[in-house]
Symmetry: C2
């Protein structure tokens, strides 16, 4: 579908992005259309939770991976079992529900458990998957608290299994190129970062608006992308955070945050300011301001059609399937027995920052971010 022949190498380089980056992004093959040479070597993935993200993004992405295959499903909705099994050729012995999930331990079709459940269930299912002897890929946010994150990390370490968090953006050519450009001083010295992600949420009855299931609102669900982008760009952890929250629809957002703005201090002296909302569209960007220019992505976090502009010039990069890239990277990490760059610790760090944001809102003061 994608071809690396489309890589506009000259434009890309002239925008200050290194050849090494182009090569490293291209060779991964997520958008090169290079088929897997040996299907039997693909790692089996059990998808836990067959909601819209699994249905519309992850299951289709699995069909595009070089190193993974959808080999099992775990669902709380019996109606979905046959439909999914037929569509994706799942063995009847590899269909689970939330009660009998632990039997997956003896399923040789499954190497990786990909958890795509409401946030509050990430902790339980990560630990159960680790105890079943499976590697775990868990959607973001990693859990509802840093305490849960630490327990999930410990469980995977005890089982000697890998744990990665679904930070798909870190595998996109756009985010990688932005990071490379900033590191390579394409905009001079980085001075400030601005990032925000939000959308106007629909159905008022969905789990994302229930605190017990989601842990929080816009910040946990989409604000985390802006937070990630700042941490990814600086390569550092925020030292302190100040945040404020506003609620303009108290009924719809009775349980979770509607809109939050926050500011972060990084040890390099860089400040970042961010925003998120469940109540308006159009906020979907990261901007890096440097002493000699600026780099901007807008949209920055959509599933497709990311746009990168460096010093006023569009960087024409290939679009790719973010989930396929993320899955193939995790499979490679497992095969090579090295930790993922989006390991559980990366998820923990985001939760520590998120906890500082919520504390700052409550206490109306700057909060020092705890160390991972």
């Amino acid at each position: 579908m994608h071809s690396n022949k489309n890589l506009p190498r000259r434009d890309f380089l002239s925008a200050g992005v290194s050849a090494a980056c182009v090569a490293s992004v291209a060779q991964a093959g997520y958008f090169s259309g290079v088929p897997s040479r040996d299907a039997s070597k693909k790692l089996g993935v059990a998808l836990v939770g067959l909601g819209s993200l699994s249905t519309n993004q992850i299951a289709p992405a699995l069909q595009k991976t070089a190193n993974c295959r959808l080999s099992a499903i775990v669902t709380g909705t019996p109606d979905k079992e046959k439909k999914w099994a037929d569509k994706y050729g799942i063995n009847s012995g590899s269909i689970y529900n939330y009660e009998n999930f632990d039997k997956i331990a003896s399923d040789e079709n499954v190497d990786i458990v990909y958890i795509v459940l409401p946030n509050s269930m990430h902790h339980e299912f990560t630990i159960r998957a680790a105890k079943a002897g499976k590697h775990v890929l868990c959607e973001k946010p990693m859990a509802n608290s840093s305490k849960e994150c630490r327990e999930m990390i410990a469980a995977c370490e005890a089982a000697n299994k890998q744990l990665a968090i679904g930070y798909r953006c870190q595998f996109t050519s756009h985010h990688l190129s932005l990071q490379t450009a900033v590191k390579g001083k394409a905009i001079g010295d980085l001075k400030m970062i601005e990032a925000g992600f939000g959308f106007r949420i629909g159905d008022p009855n969905q789990w994302r608006l229930k605190k017990a299931l989601a842990g929080g609102g816009a910040l946990m669900d989409v604000g985390i992308y802006a937070l990630q982008a700042c941490r990814f760009l600086t390569g550092n952890e925020p030292i302190s955070i100040m945040a404020q929250e506003t609620k303009t629809d108290a009924a719809k957002f009775a349980e979770v945050d509607e809109s939050i703005t926050w500011m972060m201090k990084f040890p390099s002296g860089i400040d970042a300011y961010c925003s998120t909302s469940y109540n308006f569209n159009g906020l979907n960007k990261v901007i890096a301001y440097g002493s000699n220019g600026l780099a901007k992505m807008d949209p920055a976090y959509s599933y497709s059609d990311l746009q990168l502009e460096i010093n006023g010039k569009k960087v024409d990069l290939p679009q790719q399937d973010h989930f396929a890239a993320e899955l193939d990277d995790f499979a490679t990490c497992i095969r090579e027995n090295r930790p993922s760059k989006v390991s559980g610790k990366e998820g923990l760090r985001d939760l520590l920052a998120i906890e500082a944001i919520y504390q700052s809102i409550d206490k109306r003061t700057s909060i020092d971010v705890q160390k991972a």
Copy 2:
């Protein structure tokens, strides 16, 4: 130079801007090219401080006004006296320096004193001008502290003279149209505002980098535009502010702030988040996020070429001379004996917010903004 025949009325209206606004902006005549009918009725303006802003913007703007004329100069640089007098036809009796300035009291050529001095001198010269019986137009920031602002307001009230602050943006068709569009719900209910203005400052020896002269750094000089834009758009005063500062060049910015980010809570429930810097270019915008769309100006604060976009569609408005518009409005206010919308109180309100920002930086906590 500008003609209201260029007003693309249909596009303008379709973007959600009312006909009343178009009419009210157009009728002012700043960009309609309508000449003054009676030069003798023009109010005489004494320009105090003949630096680059006066030289490049305000003196040329005075030539375009319908209701004002440059009738006197006040300068601390003797070399400039003859040059300016020749260029603008200033009477030799209407040339002053900072020592003999008070003699302006008996100068019938002068109705308005326009103060374009370093910030720290605004207080002294506003009070001296009021005591000399002149109306005062003072550049922003109004002064170095809210205490000074209150004294300036009191001095003008005691002299029964008008005081206005040089908030030129409030007179531009772009800012007025943005405000009208937001009030008219062109983007639905306003949910959040983002605003920022900064630039990479040159000469490290200029007065803007000296605390005694400038009072502060980027925030006082250009951050104030972002603050103004938020107050102008909401029509409200911020209740509380959280702010943080970063300095990446401690030598250049030894005395004043380099970069600041801040967040404001407004009584309507709207949050605003803002930024300013003296150390990078490209930050020059205000974005209003609404429940059903967004409106954006970028650039938002330049002397010319402002750009307004509402719901993804460029609003094609005439550009105008901001200073001419501001001067003509002040002259009209004086003639009609009604207070300017950018009165001293407006300047005081900005200083109260600025003081809250600096306090929040010092105390690392949210600061309630004092009432004017």
